[in-house]
């Protein structure tokens, strides 16, 4: 990467952060249209996280709604200390709500059973046998390991961000990620051995 492109990326990130700070300040003052801007920026992240933690699209929609309602209520107390604070905060709310919902219905095994209606060929391909097996293996992980691996691999968060979302030390994040990867590798070993592209 050249120095100029790195500078341009940093400037772009700075501008995004400044725009987000403006949205937060306006929403904190009660501007609903600014809050809608926040919803539009982060709804995919929030709903996607809830879906990947639960494997349930309906629950993910409910969690996304409740996350933003709670965010609206708690926005006055929110302090955006650094870039990404809002994203981490929303993910923390969504994570906690999802885990609470899963605990309430713990008797049911977690499965990813959304009907495949209306899928494009690309989407259908992504729901291949390997993809389904991997999703299922992720859903079978213990809650604390699943949260760490989902935030890292699907949401591409740094260790520091994961630590902020889960409210745990970075060392614990590293340990959980390692345990999750080891269990996934063990659970998916048959796919390794059958020569599929794992």
């Amino acid at each position: 990467m050249t120095g100029n492109s790195a500078d341009a990326m940093a400037a772009s990130a700075g501008a995004r952060h400044a725009a987000e700070l403006d949205l937060i300040a306006a929403a904190q003052a009660g501007d609903a249209s600014a809050f809608r801007g926040i919803v539009e920026r982060h709804h995919r992240l929030v709903a996607g996280l809830a879906y990947r933690l639960s494997g349930d699209a309906d629950l993910a929609d409910d969690v996304a709604q409740e996350t933003f309602v709670r965010a609206w209520r708690g926005l006055a107390r929110f302090e955006p200390r650094r870039p990404g604070s809002l994203r981490s905060w929303l993910c923390r709310i969504a994570h906690n709500l999802t885990m609470d919902a899963l605990r309430r219905r713990r008797s049911e095994p977690l499965t990813s059973e959304r009907p495949d209606h209306g899928l494009s060929p690309f989407e259908a391909a992504s729901r291949s046998e390997t993809g389904a097996a991997v999703r299922q293996a992720v859903l079978q992980l213990p809650d604390h390991l699943r949260a760490a691996i989902v935030l890292r691999e699907y949401e591409e968060m740094s260790y520091a961000e994961i630590a902020a979302v889960l409210e745990i030390p970075i060392g614990t994040v590293m340990s959980r990620l390692h345990s999750a990867r080891k269990r996934l590798a063990d659970d998916l070993a048959p796919l390794f051995n059958s020569g599929e592209d794992l």
Partner: protein, 201 residues
């Protein structure tokens, strides 16, 4: 390979190392088959997870906003209602307290006339001979202290009236704040004008 080394391989895989540490790790990977194997498994796992990254047709941001917006407005409305309700409740409590205090003092002192309760309530006089001493440490000769208790009664009444007026004022203030909040939520338009704006859109 130790647990610590395993964590370092993960940190390298996740791009969480400084440049210097990453270079040192690359040199280590050249000579350590076990760490190299862990890195290969980690990369393969990452590819598989990327393949399973599909998320089904969740709500669009528009659908999501349509679902949460009424909850935001209704919460504000609920705050206004709660303000009025709590104000009304406090007012009722203040009135009941004032009445109870007044009745208690009248029974205890015989009121401004200075009669003991037993004489004031003539029909019940025999049944309630010592009401005053039963409720408050009032001396047997009530008329010596009757005016002091009357003054206390007036003071208590004034205080409760003041409390009543304050609760009503706070209740109204809460309603004004809630109305202002609803106004902001409606995008700057007063609620009463929203339907007109909708008709123009």
């Amino acid at each position: 390979m130790t647990h610590h080394e395993s964590l370092l391989v993960d940190a390298y895989l996740d791009g969480e190392m400084s440049s210097a540490d990453a270079l040192a790790m690359e040199r280590h990977l050249d000579i350590c088959a076990e760490c190299r194997r862990q890195l290969e498994v980690g990369l393969a796992l990452r590819n598989s997870l990327a393949e399973s990254a599909f998320v089904p047709d969740l709500q669009s941001s528009g659908q999501l906003w349509a679902a949460i917006e009424p909850q935001l407005v209704s919460r504000s409305h609920a705050l206004g209602v709660a303000g009025w309700a709590s104000g009304a409740l406090l007012a009722v409590v203040a009135l009941v307290a004032q009445t109870a205090l007044a009745v208690l003092l009248i029974f205890a002192t015989g009121g401004a006339l200075g009669f003991p309760a037993s004489e004031w309530l003539t029909p019940l006089g025999d049944a309630l001979p010592d009401m005053g001493t039963a409720f408050l440490p009032v001396p047997p000769v009530a008329d010596e202290f009757g005016y002091a208790y009357d003054a206390l009664l007036v003071g208590a009444s004034s205080f409760t009236m003041w409390l009543l007026m304050m609760t009503l004022a706070l209740s109204f203030f809460g309603w004004v704040l809630a109305a202002r909040r609803r106004h902001q939520l409606a995008g700057g338009l007063p609620v009463s004008l929203q339907h007109r704006a909708g008709a123009h859109n």
